[in-house]
Structures are given as structure tokens and as C-alpha cells.
């Protein structure tokens, strides 16, 4: 019987985190979920731990990008709604 890859836990945590982040995705949570699942399934046969680690790093990079995206969206929306005078003085 094959042993489960020790990195399996990390991959699962990454997937769960990405799912959680995807809930607020501007194009829709379903859109994100589909793309996420497809991306993970595409790599399901990778066995080399170094490659897996690289892919996990890429996933974590995506999480950081999403954080930045969400923050900027919210900041810009709040600025637009509550700080009109900033635009006027420019």
C-alpha cells in the first residue's frame, strides 16, 4: 500500500484556505471554485516533493494577491464614498 505523501496535509490546508478566500471573489465564488478545483486536479499526479513545494508556494502567492485585491477594492470603494473632497482638491 502506498504511503500518503507527507505534503498532503499542506496541500489540503492550502486548498481550504484558497476556498475561503474565494468566497469574496468579484467574479463570483462559483467561478473561483471551478478554476481552483481545475488547477488542483491538473497537478494531482505530481509526486516530486520539490515540485509540490513549488506549487504550494505558487498557491500561497495567489492568496497574497487575493488579499491585496480585496483590500484595494474595499479601500477604493470607501475612499470613493467617503472622501469626495480628496478628488476635488486634486
Amino acid at each position: 500500500m502506498k504511503m500518503a505523501n507527507p505534503l498532503r496535509g499542506e496541500v489540503l490546508t492550502l486548498y481550504k484556505n484558497l476556498l475561503y478566500f474565494g468566497r469574496e471573489y468579484p467574479k463570483g465564488a462559483d467561478y473561483f471554485k471551478r478554476r481552483l478545483k481545475a488547477a488542483f486536479l491538473k497537478n494531482k499526479d505530481v509526486k516530486d516533493p520539490e515540485k509540490i513545494r513549488q506549487l504550494i508556494a505558487r498557491g500561497e502567492f495567489v492568496i497574497k494577491e487575493l488579499e491585496a485585491l480585496y483590500f484595494l477594492r474595499k479601500y477604493r470603494a470607501m475612499k470613493q464614498r467617503y472622501h469626495l473632497e480628496d478628488d476635488k482638491t486634486k
Binding site: K16, N17, F21, Y70, K74, Y75, A77, M78, E85
Partner: protein, 255 residues
């Protein structure tokens, strides 16, 4: 001051990105099934409190939310962002619509005194009602100085220097603690509450977060909660990785 306790008010509002729809009978907006989240300015207030704690200027960050049961979600987010305790002042759904800045500031006043907070941090206004009153009213009731629309906050000893965004520019004031500060957009960039943190608190709840006995007297007297039901005082406490503590509090509110 390492002894300083920060009380942060957080409000559960309809998410900022949601398209608001008016109810067909025109009595309000549709809130059922609509995505809710923490008020963006409250997020900024929580973030500031947590940053002060990380700088060891604040000993404990206590998040407070008033409203129906769903407010616990908002509190969990605050806990995941780094607050130490969450206090949910439960108001039944039927009454929740009448809950406004006046009532909330009474609650915050009572809690600030009870928890011996030295700093009350709030968002400058809520994006659903845009009242911009709770901070100011709370300061008046506590008879504390206030620094509203803060875009910069510096704690020095027993004083806090607040840079305020006002019409026409910036104003810098120095307040003696204890004080009330309301957060404006440029105070900081709030962190995103990560899933593992939130899940710890889910586990705490599943294990049985205790509900305390309702206090024997209403928090704010008849005018604020003009109904016979009393606010429930429920404390949410996070599970640490080493210790697990669930607080069950039987608090008596001042009558």
C-alpha cells in the same frame, strides 16, 4: 502603558460590495440572505487596537458587538484578527432594528467602565446608516476626551496624540487617557482574518461557549431597551494552542 485595555466596537453591516435592494413594501432594505460583514471602519479600529497590542502598548483588546445572534460571526472575525476577547450584547431580532447610536453608546459606556478600558476604539461611522454618532456620544457619556476621524494614533504614556482628518486638512490633538478614538480610512490597512484562526474559535464554540445568566437588570434602563427582554452577555474566548479557556461569566450590569 502595559496596563491599558482597549475596547473596540464592531458592527455587523451589509457587506460593502452588495447591491442594496429596497423591500417591496418600502419599509427598509432587504437584509435576509444578504451577505453581511464587519463594517470596514470597525475593521480599521480592530486592526489599530491589535497593532497597539503587538507594540505592547495595550494589554488586552476586547471586541464588542450589539445585535442579534449573527453578530457572533463579526466577533469571531475580530478575534481572528487578534482581539483577545469578544463580548456579544445580544439584542433580539425584533428589537435590533431600533438599535441605534444612542443605545449602543450606552452599552459601550457601561462596558468601558465595567472592563476598566482606557481606550475605546470605534469606526468613524457605519456604512449602513452613516450616523457618525456612536463615538461622540460614548465619549460624552463617559465624559472622556475624543479624537474622531483619526488617521494617525500615537500612544505616549498616559496621553494619546491623534491626527484627525477634518475639512480643510489635518488637525493634531493630544488627549489624556482614558479617551475615545474613532478610526478613519487612512489609519491603517486591516489584516485579512485567516481561516485557521477563525476555525479555532469555531471549535471553542462547538465545545460549548457558555452563555451567562441574563443580568438582573437591563444595561441601560427602560428607555434604551423598551421591552421586557434583557440583553444577554455572552463572552467568546479563543482557544490558544496550548491552553483552552472558555469563559462563563455571570456579570451584573450596573442598574
Amino acid at each position: 502603558m502595559a496596563e491599558l485595555r482597549a475596547l473596540v466596537g464592531v458592527k455587523r453591516v451589509i457587506d460593502y460590495a452588495v447591491k442594496i435592494r429596497v423591500k417591496p413594501d418600502k419599509t427598509g432594505v432587504v437584509t435576509d440572505g444578504v451577505k453581511h460583514s464587519m463594517n470596514p471602519f470597525c475593521e480599521i479600529a480592530v486592526e489599530e487596537a491589535v497593532r497597539l497590542k503587538e507594540k505592547k502598548l495595550v494589554k488586552e483588546v476586547i471586541a464588542v458587538s450589539c445585535g442579534p445572534k449573527q453578530c457572533q460571526e463579526t466577533l469571531r472575525t475580530a478575534l481572528a484578527m487578534g482581539a483577545d476577547r469578544g463580548i456579544h450584547v445580544e439584542v433580539p431580532e425584533s428589537e435590533a432594528e431600533r438599535l441605534g447610536p444612542l443605545q449602543v453608546s450606552r452599552v459601550l459606556t457601561a462596558l468601558a467602565q465595567k472592563e476598566k478600558a482606557g481606550l475605546v476604539l470605534l469606526g468613524k461611522q457605519a456604512i449602513d446608516d452613516d450616523c457618525n454618532q456612536t463615538g461622540q456620544m460614548t465619549a460624552a457619556m463617559l465624559d472622556w476626551p475624543q479624537g474622531t476621524f483619526a488617521s494617525k494614533l500615537t500612544l505616549e504614556g498616559d496621553k494619546v496624540t491623534v491626527e484627525r482628518e477634518i475639512d480643510g486638512g489635518l488637525e493634531t490633538i493630544r488627549l489624556k487617557l482614558p479617551a475615545v478614538v474613532t478610526a478613519d480610512l487612512r489609519l491603517n490597512e486591516p489584516r485579512y482574518a485567516t481561516l485557521p484562526n477563525i476555525m479555532d474559535y469555531e471549535a471553542a464554540r462547538a465545545l460549548g461557549g457558555h452563555e451567562s445568566q441574563p443580568p438582573s437588570s437591563p444595561v441601560c434602563g427602560p428607555p434604551a431597551f423598551a421591552c421586557s427582554s434583557l440583553p444577554l452577555y455572552l463572552q467568546l474566548v479563543p482557544i490558544g494552542t496550548r491552553t483552552c479557556f472558555l469563559s462563563s461569566s455571570n456579570h451584573d450590569f450596573p442598574s
